[in-house]
């Protein structure tokens, strides 16, 4: 497991050592800042709300969940496809560690980065709590939903990225795959459990409204586990293909 942490630590530093990490952070902060201003402004115009804080944070996190579909694959592309293309992947593949540890390390590295971003985004709830009495439970569930959503996209992205060395295909493929994954919920005739399971945006919205179900967390964990397992499989079989 220490090998996974070593990889995670390096990847995290790698994000900050190159423009990628900073640009992604800029995008996320800019979008969330703008959104916060807009939603707060609208709320002021409306003049009344049952729980203004939940409303603000709900729309903020809901929107971030969308944006992440386009931001997260940049990171999975970097740690997998780019490393495969540049040959740095061989450093890990040549070390006496398992494929599982490599995949886990890459997953944790990206999650570490987004956890820091998530922590910094707490500035909004803190700011809000100065002026109003928020429902902390709703708010923390919203953040939990944000992190779980990111985890799901990271695992799907890692799987797609492990299939290709081409950065563009990796990025577009991941975005496309996540969208396909989401929209497969609307295919007619799909069983209800499936429709509920793949619509991670809806699950995230549920959480940000303060509805915590064991099943929704379990669904997230199942998605993450499935795709990390598939990525591990792809990495492992690389030895036997080309």
């Amino acid at each position: 497991m220490s090998a996974a942490l070593t990889i995670a630590q390096r990847d995290f530093r790698g994000f900050l050592g190159t423009p990628v990490g900073w640009i992604a952070a800029c995008i996320l902060f800019l979008v969330s800042g703008l959104l916060f201003t807009i939603v707060t402004g609208q709320l002021l115009l409306k003049g009344e709300s049952v729980d203004p804080v939940a409303e603000i944070m709900g729309s903020l996190i809901g929107f971030l969940n969308y944006i992440n579909i386009f931001v997260v694959p940049i990171f999975t592309m970097r740690v997998m496809s780019e490393e495969l293309a540049q040959g740095t992947f061989r450093l890990q593949a040549g070390a006496p560690i398992s494929s599982g540890e490599i995949v886990a390390g890459k997953f944790l590295g990206i999650m570490f980065y987004f956890s820091i971003i998530g922590l910094l985004l707490l500035i909004y709830p803190v700011y809000v709590s100065v002026f109003a009495e928020p429902d902390y439970k709703v708010m923390s569930l919203g953040f939990l939903g944000l992190i779980l959503n990111i985890a799901a996209i990271v695992s799907i992205g890692l799987f797609v990225a492990s299939l290709t060395q081409n950065a563009v295909i990796s990025y577009l493929g991941s975005v496309f795959f996540v969208i396909l994954f989401l929209f497969s919920a609307y295919i007619k005739g799909m069983p209800e459990w499936y429709q509920r399971s793949v619509n991670i945006l809806e699950l995230g919205n549920e959480l940000s409204r303060g509805i915590l179900k064991t099943s929704s967390v379990a669904i997230y964990l199942a998605i993450v586990a499935t795709f990390l397992f598939l990525s591990r499989l792809v990495v492992e079989t690389k030895r036997w293909r080309v």
């Binding site: 220490s2 090998a3 070593t6 990889i7 390096r10 530093r13 790698g14 050592g17 190159t18 540049q86 040959g87 740095t88 992947f89 061989r90 450093l91 890990q92 593949a93 040549g94 070390a95 006496p96 560690i97 398992s98 030895r239 036997w240 080309v242």
Partner: protein, 319 residues
């Protein structure tokens, strides 16, 4: 130390290795020589545990690369042809990261990193970003990362590719130094490279071993001698033809005023120096206008071209 038996690799339908058989002894530097696309890198990848063979076995220190991959990776240091480097890290950060990844215990890590940096002569750039270094330095940093965990076997895939002559000399010296304590396999398509650094040579072409020899047998201990003359080259040629200690003499095709002479086996050995002195003084006495004498080591070159031309597996000398 390294035992390879019937090693085969298929990429889809295409067979890139057709059953390689070779072994490398402890403390030897073995050169893997072959034209581009001969299967050198594939073999190296298999030995380093990065690629699985389609058939056959490869054992390093008795450990099988297929069933004991992890153990094999622990004792192997591998420098691929495209050196894996993180450009945004400093040299020392990078080497430390590889040491950690390779499982060097925390209390020995600093000394291991320092030693590797010193061995590869990159201590002076330790705090610079890898991305800002010259190609020669990058190659040395990659080599440094390959040996930070003190591997018993070092596998180097074209270690001097794309370097300037000065840097090539540096890397060669480094390889010779490193070889004192470990077994080294290096691949190259440059003849002089192998000649300068290796004890044994394996020539591979189109996925087959076409020749295997220790460099001493590959003709290097019995060089041809090239004599150049001011004017009477033809007279010198016929003079050599009459001598019993000469096995072959002909005009040198690169320089018309010179002759290439191969001596018989008993000419070499302990008496070689005295014999040469005698030949030279006789040439001067004959008044052929001798201008220069030098040894020409064609052994490896001819071995290589013969092997590639014939393409039939042949084992010459002993490995």
């Amino acid at each position: 130390m390294i035992e390879v038996k019937d090693l085969m690799k298929l990429y889809g339908e295409r067979k890139v290795l057709h059953g390689l058989n070779f072994s490398v002894g402890v403390g030897r530097v073995c050169g893997f020589l072959g034209p581009n696309g001969a299967g050198k890198s594939t073999t190296m990848d298999i030995l380093a545990g990065l690629l699985g063979p389609s058939d056959g076995t490869a054992k390093l220190c008795g450990l099988d690369v297929v069933t004991q991959t992890r153990e094999v990776k622990e004792i192997v240091g591998y420098l691929p042809d495209n050196p894996p480097l993180y450009k945004e890290m400093t040299v020392v950060e990078f080497v430390k990261y590889v040491a950690k990844l390779r499982g060097v215990p925390a209390n020995q890590r600093k000394s291991a990193v320092d030693r590797a940096l010193a061995d590869c002569a990159v201590t002076d750039v330790a705090n610079r970003l890898v991305g800002n270094l010259s190609k020669g330095y990058r190659q040395r940093v990659a080599l440094c990362a390959a040996l930070v965990h003190q591997p018993k076997i070092l596998i180097l895939d074209e270690p001097t590719e794309g370097l300037d002559p000065n840097q090539i000399l540096l890397i060669r010296g480094l390889i010779r130094k490193l070889a004192k304590e470990r077994t080294v396999i290096l691949s190259s398509h440059i003849l002089s490279e192998v000649q300068a650094t290796c004890d044994d040579v394996i020539i591979i072409n189109q996925g087959q071993i076409v020749a295997q020899a220790s460099l001493a047998d590959a003709g290097t201990s019995k060089p041809s001698v090239i004599f150049s003359f001011a004017d009477r080259t033809d007279a010198a040629l016929s003079w050599f033809k009459e001598k019993t200690f000469v096995s072959k003499v002909e005009l040198f095709n690169e320089k018309p005023d010179s002759v290439v002479v191969n001596f018989k086996d008993d000419f070499y050995g302990d008496a070689k120096k005295a014999n040469m002195v005698q030949v030279n003084s006789q040439l001067v006495q004959q008044g052929f206008g001798l201008t220069s004498v030098y040894e020409h080591r064609t052994g490896l070159e001819s071995l290589f071209f013969d092997a590639i031309k014939n393409q039939s597996p042949a084992v010459r000398g002993q490995a």
